[in-house]
Amino acid sequence: MLRRTLFGTALAATLAAAGAAQAQQTLKIGVILPYSGQFADLATQLDNGIKLYVQQNGDTVAGRKIEIVRKDVGGIAPDVAKRLAQELVVRDRVDVLAGFALTPNAMAAGDVSEQAKKFMVVMNAATSIITTKSPFMTRTSLTTPQLNDTLGKWVAKNGGKRAFTMASDYGPGHDGEQAFQKAFREAGGEIVGAVRIPVENPDFSAFVQRAKDSGADVVYVWVPGGAQPAALGKALAERGLANTGVKIVGQGELTSEEALKSMGDAGLGIITAFNYDYTHDSAKNRDFVTAYRRAYNRNPDLFSVGGYDGMHVIYEAVKKAAGRTDGQVLIDAVKGMAWESPRGPVSIDAETRDIINTVYIRRVERRNGELVNAEIDRVERVKDPVKAAMR
């Protein structure tokens, strides 16, 4: 461990020297995202957020011209992610590592950030512990427990007594399920049943039937975005679960724009916790959505905001550091930073370097003929509960 640290210091010194030679020239940002493969759409939206920010705020900050180097990691592939991060550092000599849609990739690249003392901005990956991998890392998206812990408390407080949970059987699903169950129990609720769903699951009828048979008054769902929310919605509609007065609750991806389109009226009444929706009512967000639509002909989502805010953090940190780019300076500049995001007021926790933001509780309603997530409640300044409990 000692050797590792010594080595890291020597390395960082070399790189800093190399960086200094380049100072006043470009600010290189290496972005690692799954541009191809099954997570490609997520990467597209996130990258759009990055591009829009640069477009709106100019490509020069603190006298340095921004240059973005994009690398495709192709999916969940920490070995590739780590290699790309290494290459970005040693070959492309980037000043900042950014992007990171998926937890394993972010964790692997975290090693590089720590070793090379590089500022790293996680713009999506949502597992709590990621930010503990490197002291030079911050996050501008959210953590899964942040949303689900809040949701569990809220549901218990608002009349839910007996909950059935169903979650995708992999890391993020487990995180969400556990956070919800813990919070729900602590707030006085009872978990009457739980089921874990295979990750690649095209049909939900059997699980919805189980939930229905369990006699719960709340059904909590955690599924990844993509094809699954729509498929789930259809199963819910066919089983007529909503008609029986059971509340369906979950994390925001469940009722994303695309999911609502293909769910149709089956989605009505679903309650979700999330940190952003394009319908959020604020001047900042209206401008953001308008600009985003003009540029990319679709609505932004949480990934877009993660990328957009991630760039904001980089710009502001570099400004504050007056163009210096070594990891310690930039991470210090970020600690405690607060700003107005399209999602509302957000800040970076000075201790954990993780995001603090508002969690909105939304219900699917029909407005002007369209299904939208209408905000019905909000919890402000939510920190990641896992790291809060660690201390």
Binding site: R3, L11, L33, S36, R70, K71, A77, T103, P104, V199
Partner: protein, 333 residues
């Protein structure tokens, strides 16, 4: 056969010795693998992963190219090797070389068990059994997430410096040296194997199983032996990747990895050991370059390359090259 000229009989020993001898291009090739240290010091991480994939491709070549067993499930053994090495590193056994051996042994042991299922089947059933096994392995690894870390990947792997001296660094210098050394040693073993009577028997099975029965060969046993050895090699490759990157994910035993390695092997050419190495170089360099040009649609060009090679070069790029070489030499003579 007029009998007027008495042709001298050829010397079989000289012929076989020539076959087994290291040729000048081979020696040159292996010397050239050292060039990246000086020519492309910025690309050593990539080079180390190419060496890992090359080793993996060679393991597949032994069973596909030499013994004729088509598999789309070999990542199972790659993954077992990777997880074994990773788990050792995570739980305090950071010494890399012994970790490699343990990982390869574990993969070979599982390979031996699975060989009973594989050597009986042929055609579509064989393909589907190998695919089925790789999906089962992935499901199992996800279900055992308290051991494997599930979809978050195995975290907290710490590997000691190689031989107590060479630490794995950011530039990938140690990683490449290490991966290259393992590749070379494994290659020497494989090279001896394919030039041995056992290697001849494997080619016999590929060429004509009926004839192998007629000369009394215990074919299934031979196939099981080579499958086990190949599984061990794949495990070795997985272990090197886990050690040099200090990370393992579920995808290391996924279907995609199984398919990619076969594609590399086909691109390079089967049944020649070097085909796997060439294929790994082409695939990964092409991927690196294409995805830099366009991170989103590079798979299109990989697909096109694959179709082109299968369509026009039936024995891969190496086969095409060697035919070209023969023609040039034939004209010269």
């Amino acid at each position: 056969m007029t009998g007027a000229v008495v042709r001298p009989l050829p010397d079989p020993h000289a012929f076989l010795a020539r076959r087994a001898r290291w040729s000048a291009p081979e020696i040159l090739f292996w010397l050239s693998t050292l060039l990246p240290f000086w020519l492309f010091p910025d690309y050593l991480s990539l080079a180390s992963q190419i060496a890992v994939w090359a080793l993996f491709a060679i393991s597949v070549d032994l069973i596909l190219g030499y013994a004729g067993i088509v598999t789309l499930g070999h990542a199972v053994f790659f993954g077992i090797g990777a997880y074994t090495a990773g788990l050792l590193g995570k739980h305090g056994w950071g010494e890399p070389l012994s970790g490699l051996l343990i990982a390869a042994t574990a993969a070979a042991a599982v390979g031996f068990l699975i060989s009973f299922f594989v050597v009986r089947a042929r055609h579509l059933a064989l393909l589907m059994i190998t695919i089925g096994i790789v999906f089962m392995a992935r499901e199992a690894a996800n279900a055992l997430h308290w051991i494997t870390g599930g979809s978050d990947g195995l975290q907290g792997i710490r590997i000691d410096p190689v031989l107590g001296r060479f630490e794995f660094d950011l530039w990938g210098t140690t990683a490449y040296g290490y991966a290259l050394a393992v590749l070379f040693v494994a290659f020497v073993f494989c090279r001896r194997l394919v030039n041995s009577p056992f290697g001849l028997a494997l080619q016999g099975i590929r060429e004509n199983p009926t004839r192998m029965l007629a000369i009394g060969s215990p074919m299934r046993w031979r196939l099981q032996q080579v499958f086990t050895f190949s599984a061990g090699l794949a495990g070795l490759a997985g272990a090197v990747l886990a050690q040099t990157t200090e990370t393992v994910s579920l995808e290391s035993l996924g279907f995609q990895r199984s398919a990619d390695v076969v594609i590399m092997l086909i691109l390079g050419g089967t049944g020649r050991l070097y085909g796997g190495i060439l294929g790994a170089v082409i695939f990964l360099v092409a991927r690196d370059q294409l995805s830099d040009v366009n991170p989103r649609y590079w798979y299109f060009w990989i697909g096109m390359l694959l179709i082109g090679v299968v369509l026009f070069m039936r024995d891969g790029l190496l086969g095409g090259l060697s035919r070209l070489w023969d023609r040039v030499r034939g004209r010269g003579a």
